[in-house]
Symmetry: C2
Subunit: 497 residues, 2 copies
């Protein structure tokens, strides 16, 4: 009931003009109690960014660590909620959130309790080889944590360390499954030729199978995942890659309502290409890998119909369908999993996660995706129980505060504000996208890199994606009063360009 | 002085017969104060292993997690020092130590303090994207932690999550470096053809370069690292692999002193093969990757002369020399890094670490190994500051207790005891190896798998490597009284076979 009431209150708020110089107090309506009462009420910019202390500390770090990608050094002891603090007294509203990976705010009190628990201390100092010697509590931690949030239809998890190895272990499971089908079942033994040839990295033991991914996809940077990543040349240059196929991801035209038929045709064309590649590619396709929203590659969206089509094709051609929810998972799109938006008849075969989960892995449901023998899908640590405890704490916090529904509503509010800005400044807003996708919102802008730099000067930390997009990736504790500040800030940035 | 005294005392002890039913109190000489006063004085075996509670808990875990590789479920709240406890009251002396990865004992009090520190809580709940937004303390954590232990000549670190991605990021650095040399330097821009072809996973942008590794090597299980792993077919089966070369690793004959010339010839033959492969392999070799002691592949050792030869060849042929210290690093061989035993003229180009560091990465010294542009070697988390704090705590504990020298001495004591057992039971001890390599000791035995199973019944947790080897991987806090128990236990196991 309370949440329904809150919903109504917020929807009414969405009809008023948000980007206006209201006092911060006025912004915080009774319906919108701040999740972090100790947050700054507005960004504070005290120096040029990076300020003198940040510059000195970066120079020190440069002696031992590559600092050329440093955005800013942060003071995490002081950062709170949606605000990241630096060493020079700057306090920025953070809608980039560690590349979309902080879920419930800096110094979240509930996570702080988890971090200080005796269970956590034990997980940190008695790190097990999870495949050999898990703690007796491991099943309970999974059941009350990662699996409590499992996508519908997927009741098993393989735990990993980060998005790249989550994706790669899913690929390995797909290859083993594919070959098992070819062999005629789990009980068919490997041949002598297979056993010998794989030691030489040759077929048939090491077969030339492939994973199909999409143009502009980002699935990680290790050798297998990088072979499916097609976002930017700088990610791939000089690194040997597998000869794997890529299909075109739909490039939709915006506003969607003005291009319905054209976009539907584009999606159909892409689906046909997928099916053709699966049938014809010289290295047979074991699985199709896709992001619900291509993130690093430029915030490219497709419709539920497209993904339903992908699921149909993969079923019909008997290849696996893997959904990479590393960036989209854990609530940011207004559903816990972005693929919940698709209403699939049958779930994906595997769903990978990382980032906001603060740990990683893949979910699956089909028991045949457990390889037919032990030690085929294995490594020393197989994840980190300490991070699994944090994931559990995140899920608890998401449930306690209703953060998925909250993000859906805040996203609608924010999107409405952005639409108004887009009308006012059409030259700075192209292809506004992410409507109905929570706060997972982006638009293209001609001076994107300058936009991101100027954002800091008005107290906001924002990231980009692709070549031209501003991508918003606020945390799940991002609220309407933050949206107001963000909208005001965007207007300020535009005036600075 | 104190440590010299202790050394003398221990050397004297090594001359007496250790494997004898002395009372536990008698074993603990004054020179050998236990590091963990609250450890059991001897193993306790209360049930068949796995006992009833373990079996029930494993069945529960099986619902959501592959349990076929489960060795035992552990009670980490009770495990202490060198002893791993299970749910059924069994307390095993653990000389496997989570596949060689627990460094300073279960529930180490110093690490417990680190785990409970405010710094740790912040690292756990404010996980940064280290390449973009490191904390202002990150340089300090590296300088007082990972880099305090850096191999001689290597003053930079790239942090990772586990052994596999540590190795793969080192490979990526090697490929980028190799192509940079080919291009003519860091300032030479990528060509249009490179930029386009890499998006299609084709050369010249995605070149068909290779990493040379050795037969029986184990370097991890992701796609790039698995392509250099040559330990067992089960690790590689059905997974696509790169066409990369493998050289023969010397298979030495034991006892070494009886096969001096033969072994030297074997090593020379292997070195010649390496040089030939570097010069002739159709996919040019960017780096040679080697373990100081092949671990997973069967505890295969080679002499310092062999590794000096490898370093010479790699310098002469202008390829990089990467040493995989994932299993050998952090003191287990009686030196902090196993390659310290080699007295190289110039250090390896990169050294990778994981396991006992409880976090992972690679060290390097040559600034040209930083890629020429930002974001080429990058990922969201790039390691985990929480685990970096644990590594620092481990280094502090190693220094405080002098655990490297301690392990060297304990290793000599243990090795002497094993030599006596080998003389007494020659049919159960072949190729005893690891003399002068701390506690990094192994031998072959005909009924190896039975040996490992029976070990539990006498209260010891031991692992194997390769097809026939028993591998000892005790922690750095393994002491002479533990060695006595282990030696007695081995004799008991032999009698049960």
């Amino acid at each position: 009931m309370a949440s329904a009431l809150r919903y109504g209150a917020k929807m009414r708020m969405a009809t008023r003009v948000p980007a206006r110089a209201l006092s911060t107090t006025a912004r915080l309506s009774a319906a919108e109690k701040p999740f972090f009462p100790n947050e700054p009420t507005a960004p504070v910019v005290s120096t040029a960014i990076p300020g003198p202390k940040n510059q000195a500390a970066t120079a020190e770090l440069d002696k031992v660590f590559d600092v050329r990608s440093i955005n800013m050094l942060a003071d995490y002891n002081k950062s709170v909620g949606n605000y990241i603090f630096d060493l020079d007294g700057n306090k920025l509203l953070d809608v980039y959130a560690q590349i979309a990976s902080i879920p419930v705010g800096y110094n979240n009190p509930h996570l702080a309790e988890v971090a200080k628990s005796p269970e956590m201390a034990s997980a940190l100092i008695n790190r097990p080889a999870l495949g050999n010697f898990p703690s007796s509590e491991w099943a309970h931690i999974l059941e009350t944590g990662a699996l409590r949030a499992a996508p519908k239809g997927l009741n098993q998890v393989f735990t990993a360390m980060a998005g790249s190895d989550a994706n790669e272990t899913a690929y390995k499971a797909a290859f083993m499954y594919y070959r098992q089908l070819q062999r005629g079942g789990p009980e068919v033994e490997f041949t002598e030729e297979e056993l010998l040839s794989t030691m030489n990295n040759q077929g048939p033991g090491s077969p030339q199978l492939s994973i199909l991914s999409f143009k502009h996809a980002f699935h990680g940077r290790l050798f297998g995942s990088l072979s499916t990543t097609r976002s930017k040349a700088i990610h791939k240059m000089d690194i040997p890659a597998f000869d794997w196929p890529q299909a075109t991801f739909p490039m939709l035209k915006y506003p969607l309502e003005d291009h319905v038929q054209e976009n539907a045709q584009e999606e159909q064309r892409c689906l046909q290409e997928v099916e053709r590649l699966i049938k014809e590619y010289h290295n047979p396709v074991a699985a199709v890998m896709v992001e619900p929203i291509q993130s690093e590659g430029g915030d490219n969206h497709a419709s539920p119909a497209f993904f339903q089509g992908l699921r149909d094709i993969t079923k019909r051609t008997n290849v696996l369908f893997i959904v990479d929810e590393v960036q989209t998972g854990i609530g940011a799109t207004g559903k816990f999993w972005a693929h919940d938006h698709w209403n699939l008849d049958t779930p994906p075969d595997m769903v990978t996660f990382s980032k906001k989960a603060q740990t990683a892995g893949y979910y699956f449901g089909n028991p045949a995706l457990r390889p037919n023998k032990p030690y085929r899908q294995f490594n020393t640590w197989m994840g980190d129980p300490a991070r699994a405890l944090i994931f559990r704490g995140i899920i608890e916090e998401v449930e306690r505060l209703g953060l998925v529904e909250h993000t859906r509503i805040t996203g609608e509010y924010l999107y409405a504000g952005l639409e108004r800005l887009a009308q006012k400044y059409p030259e700075h807003f192209q292809n506004l996208r992410g409507k109905g996708q929570g706060t997972f919102i982006a638009w293209d802008t001609p001076k994107r890199d300058q936009f991101l730099v100027k954002a800091k000067s008005v107290g906001v930390n924002i990231g980009g994606s692709g070549a031209n997009a501003v991508r918003l990736r606020p945390m799940l504790v991002f609220q309407q009063h933050h949206a107001d500040i963000l909208l005001e800030s965007i207007e300020k940035i535009i005036k600075l360009l």
